[in-house]
């Protein structure tokens, strides 16, 4: 397979169709938005074609940095919470057998396959002032006035946690499944107890997959728009929301593009940290885990 004869063959035309498609439909649009970020909006609302860094300087203002930090912080906390809940869930599924495992997987996949907007709607109606939670709490006399969860930061946090949890359980589950049971048994035979086997055999072997799985939850959370929009209201905007409002409300496309540039930079930094931490080759494995 890896003979030099084959690798020296020219890249076939079929591959060029795919690469050309990606270049035209993803890379060029991405370049356009990055290019736009170095232009400037004139007071008349048109766009002047002068190279300028003003948009980026403007994005370093306190209000935007605050949004940036809040986005990173909430995404981080929500990812760690997903991990804390998702790990036992995946572990339980991977260790169970027969019909219980089948049922568990089915139960996990149904919300996964239910429309994303609908899941958010479910949360909105559950957490709202007249929602189930407040209705029950008021009914039971536990509270006098409805709890404010919807349109607060807690609402956004719960939204992230709820919507991304299944996406983290699946990669953890598949890396646990790939773990050879003989490894655990060898650990027991060598006299380790359950806790030792877990930390010295299970964790080191699935670390990579869990890490990349978390990354594939953290990255889309950073770019989240719908959840802060519908569960957080105007106060709890993420970078994505600020970006969209610059485009459609302020009509300042160059500045909106600069926020897109900032978000992309954030992504690059995240990926850079990831490659620094993991061994070479581990990344590919992890991607395969996250996909399956």
């Amino acid at each position: 397979m890896n003979t030099p004869l084959k690798s020296s063959k020219p890249i076939p035309l079929t591959a060029l169709v795919f690469i050309g498609w990606l270049f035209l439909m993803t890379f060029i649009p991405f370049l356009i938005i990055l290019g736009m970020s170095f232009l400037e909006r004139t007071p008349l609302g048109t766009i002047s074609f002068h190279l300028s860094f003003n948009n980026y300087l403007r994005s370093f203002q306190y209000i935007y940095i605050k949004v940036l930090l809040k986005t990173v912080w909430l995404a981080l906390v929500a990812t760690l919470s997903c991990l804390a809940i998702g790990f036992p869930v995946a572990y339980y599924l991977a260790r169970s057998r027969g019909w219980l495992k089948q049922l568990g997987l089915v139960l996990l996949f149904i919300p996964f396959w239910t429309n994303f907007i609908l899941r958010v709607y479910g949360l909105v109606s559950l957490l709202g002032n007249h929602g189930l939670i407040n209705q029950l709490l008021l009914e039971w006399g536990l509270i006098k006035t409805p709890l404010e969860i919807l349109y607060t930061r807690t609402g956004v946090y719960l939204g992230l946690l709820y919507n991304y949890l299944p996406f983290l359980v699946v990669p953890i589950f598949s890396s646990l499944e790939k773990l050879d049971p003989a490894l655990r048994e060898a650990g027991f035979d060598l006299g380790a107890n359950r806790i030792q086997v877990f930390w010295k055999v299970v964790v080191p072997n699935i670390k990579e997959g869990v890490f990349v799985g978390s990354l594939f939850v953290f990255i889309p959370m950073l770019g989240e728009y719908v959840i802060p929009d519908l569960l957080g209201g105007a106060k709890e905007a993420f970078l994505g929301n600020v970006m969209v409002s610059q485009f459609f409300v302020m009509q300042d496309w160059p500045f909106g593009s600069a926020i897109a540039g900032m978000l992309s930079l954030l992504l690059l930094i995240t990926l850079w940290i990831q490659t620094r931490w993991s061994r070479i080759g581990g990344f590919r494995n992890g991607i395969d885990n996250a996909k399956s």
Binding site: S7, T14, V17, Y121, Y162, P220, G223, M243, L267
Partner: protein, 265 residues
């Protein structure tokens, strides 16, 4: 030793059941609301009114049809492009330069909000009118990479000797492709198609930016109904969509199950 290993930790089991319970609470609440006279009052009594109303509202039929059509077309486009890519790059996949690898990963890693806005700018710059076609193309622009990875896995499972045998038996390259390679990668193509369809059918944000004013898909419709406020119609729709996703998952599982039975038998 065997026995103690199989027994689940009660703490882990508890977290599992609580998590599943919480995962379903919002969905069950939506279903419950469909059958309440006043969706925001648990004691308002049972009714079929909202569900019946749903079937008499033509305003939901059009978004549904749009979503289905866009899903089918964009999935077919993505499978074509992604399969081409996997077939062409398979032999090189271990030695691909980082630039090409990053290009393939870009649509998967880029936040949807950036993908959507950059495509919007792209279409506006080219003076392409936003609508059905732009949404189809936009969906395929990101799902092609997912298909590519699925097809790469499928091709890895393929025995390279099969093609060699066919060659030894005198098959021409196009014959090898149509008679050996294609039938063997067809299951992967179907899997990729289903994934691309699901991604498209589920997508809100990219459709939001690339659909223009005239076109509504189902997620866009749900979003605009949510913005208006409580509409019992929306709950009826939720009920229906949860039923559909449940049905699809059960269908997939039962197919998998029956395949296992066939293999065993």
């Amino acid at each position: 030793m065997e026995l103690t290993m199989r027994k689940a930790n009660p703490f882990v089991a508890t977290i599992f059941f609580i998590a599943i319970f919480l995962l379903y609470t919002p969905l069950f609440y939506l279903i419950l609301q469909t059958f309440l006279n006043n969706p925001y009052d648990l004691k308002s009594g049972f009714t079929f009114r909202w569900l019946l109303k749903l079937f008499h509202s033509p305003s939901l039929l059009e978004p549904l049809m749009n979503s289905l059509e866009i899903g089918v077309l964009s999935a077919s486009l993505a499978v074509t492009v992604g399969t081409f890519g996997a077939l062409g790059l398979f032999e090189f996949s271990a030695l691909l330069p980082t630039t090409i690898q990053s290009l393939i990963m870009l649509p998967i890693l880029l936040p949807e909000v950036i993908t959507g806005l950059s495509l919007l700018l792209f279409f506006l710059l080219l003076h392409i009118e936003l609508g059905f076609a732009t949404v189809v193309v936009a969906h395929a622009s990101f799902s092609a990479s997912f298909v590519y990875f699925i097809m790469l896995e499928q091709l890895k499972k393929l025995d390279p000797q099969m093609a060699e045998v066919a060659q030894d038996l005198g098959a021409k390259p196009h014959q090898i492709f149509w008679k050996v390679t294609l039938p063997n990668i067809l299951p992967g193509m179907m899997g990729g198609w289903l994934l691309a369809f699901t991604l498209s059918f589920d997508d809100f944000l990219i459709s939001f930016f690339t659909s223009g004013a005239g076109l509504t898909t189902l997620p866009l419709k749900i979003y605009s109904l949510m913005r208006i406020g409580v509409t019992p119609e929306l709950n009826g729709l939720s009920f229906l969509m949860i039923c559909i996703s449940t049905f699809l998952v059960l269908l997939l599982v039962s197919k998998e199950q029956s395949r296992k039975w066939v293999l065993r038998g």
